[in-house]
Amino acid sequence: MATAMIRMDGVTVEFNVMERNRNRYLLLADEDLMSLAGSGDSKAFAVLYDRHGRPAYSLAYRMMGERQAAEDLVQEAFLYIWRGAGSYRAERGSVRTWMLSIVHNRGIDQLRSISSRRRMQDKVEAAAPISQPSEAFAETWRNSQRDQVRQALSHLPPEQVKVLELAYFSGYTHAEIAKLLSLPLGTVKGRMRLGLKKIREYFDSRGMEVPG
């Protein structure tokens, strides 16, 4: 069993607990792992990555549209999370929500700084006829928050889903979406408002709490 010890000015601290079987980390809650990561425990951070790397990468891939950019985004976001782990406050929401919001915010920053080439691609997609909710929301699985979210979105009118997608995943502002879809800005705002409201109502109607 590996142990480590640091001596400085007469202060000696053993870190043997940090070098033990990784299995014990798997028993800890995200918030506790975040506290450990915040004080520099890379193994706790690795466990957090193993728990949330997949949804983070999936979100990044959905936003960036290609693998390398998604990897770069996830790496940048998780480095930010590592450096800022000590600033995480559980009262502001779950660890997963916090992590995904960092991926999302950084993804939006990147999307807004890239050339118009990718944006034109989106424009073509956005202009395509809308008859069904996008593939992203087609699959319905049970017994998971992810499935519930997908179910909620599958109940929305496609035009509301499209506006939410362009805003959340593609990083467009509401004014840009209005221009892209040739809609009045008020209509775009209305679809955003109704879309979010219906997601909320979906959860409320099933007695489910919207996770923080």
């Binding site: 014990r24 997949r54 949804p55 996830v74 991926v103 992810r146």
Partner: protein, 237 residues
């Protein structure tokens, strides 16, 4: 509240939660929110709904090299990382003592002088010591059937702590392990937990500040308000 501003708030709040305001609008909204903290809860609730969208995309496994690269970047190559410690600071020390770092340090010394360098090192030392001290671990001692248990209570700072143990047999049927914070000989319940495959890890409920010891007993399922058995594990704080 100014009605015109309230209308503006309502007009922008959904786009704000979706990240769909332009920079000027976002600054305007943030400024308004700062002046009206009573609206924060409304915004938080909208954010929580908008954040659900992050879970909607089809799932893909990230490539293994992403994990490897990430852990290397933070100084914890592979999952069995070396010494814990804040990567940026340790990287700073490595830079200082590495070949390239030495050259750089020599150049810096020539300019700013030994005194400043010493002061800087001392400050870094203090920071590191502060971090280390917030990670103080207290060894758990087992007795009876828990004699072979190895474990620690690890203090995370601000009184928060976790208890980690190994070689801990499962609690008997209908029983759980319960942690206690001991103040002047008086135990306070600090949470129940189980052992899985000989491993246990749980958060200590309550603050370590002012406590003399942490103890673990076997209690009826659901836990007890006062211990009903002798301590199996103890850690003096």
């Amino acid at each position: 509240m100014n009605e015109q501003w309230r209308r503006r708030f309502d007009d922008l709040k959904d786009a704000y939660s979706l990240g769909a305001l332009d920079d000027d609008e976002r600054r305007e909204f943030d400024g308004y929110l700062a002046e009206h903290p009573e609206l924060q809860a409304e915004v938080d609730e909208l954010n929580s709904v908008a954040n659900l969208l992050a879970l909607a995309p089809p799932e893909y496994d990230p490539p293994p090299e992403l994990r490897r690269n990430l852990l290397q970047r933070i100084g914890g190559a592979e999952e069995d990382a070396a010494l814990p410690g804040r990567a940026p600071r340790r990287a700073g020390l490595r830079r200082l003592f590495g070949p390239a770092g030495l050259a750089a340090a020599a150049a810096i010394l020539a300019v700013v002088g030994l005194f400043i360098w010493n002061a800087s090192l001392r400050e870094e030392n203090e920071d590191l010591r502060g971090e280390i001290e917030t990670r103080q671990a207290y060894e758990l001692h087992g007795s009876g059937q828990a004699e072979d248990v190895q474990g620690e209570v690890v203090e995370l700072g601000r009184g928060r702590a976790i208890l980690m143990a190994e070689n801990l047999p499962p609690a008997p049927d209908g029983k759980v392990y319960e942690a206690w914070l001991i103040h002047d000989g008086v135990p306070e319940p600090a949470g129940t937990f189980h052992s899985q495959d000989g491993q246990a890890a749980t958060r200590i409920e309550g603050s370590l500040e002012g406590a003399d010891a942490v103890a673990v007993t076997v209690e009826p399922s659901g836990g007890s308000s006062m211990p009903t058995s002798e301590p199996l594990l103890t850690a003096s704080l």
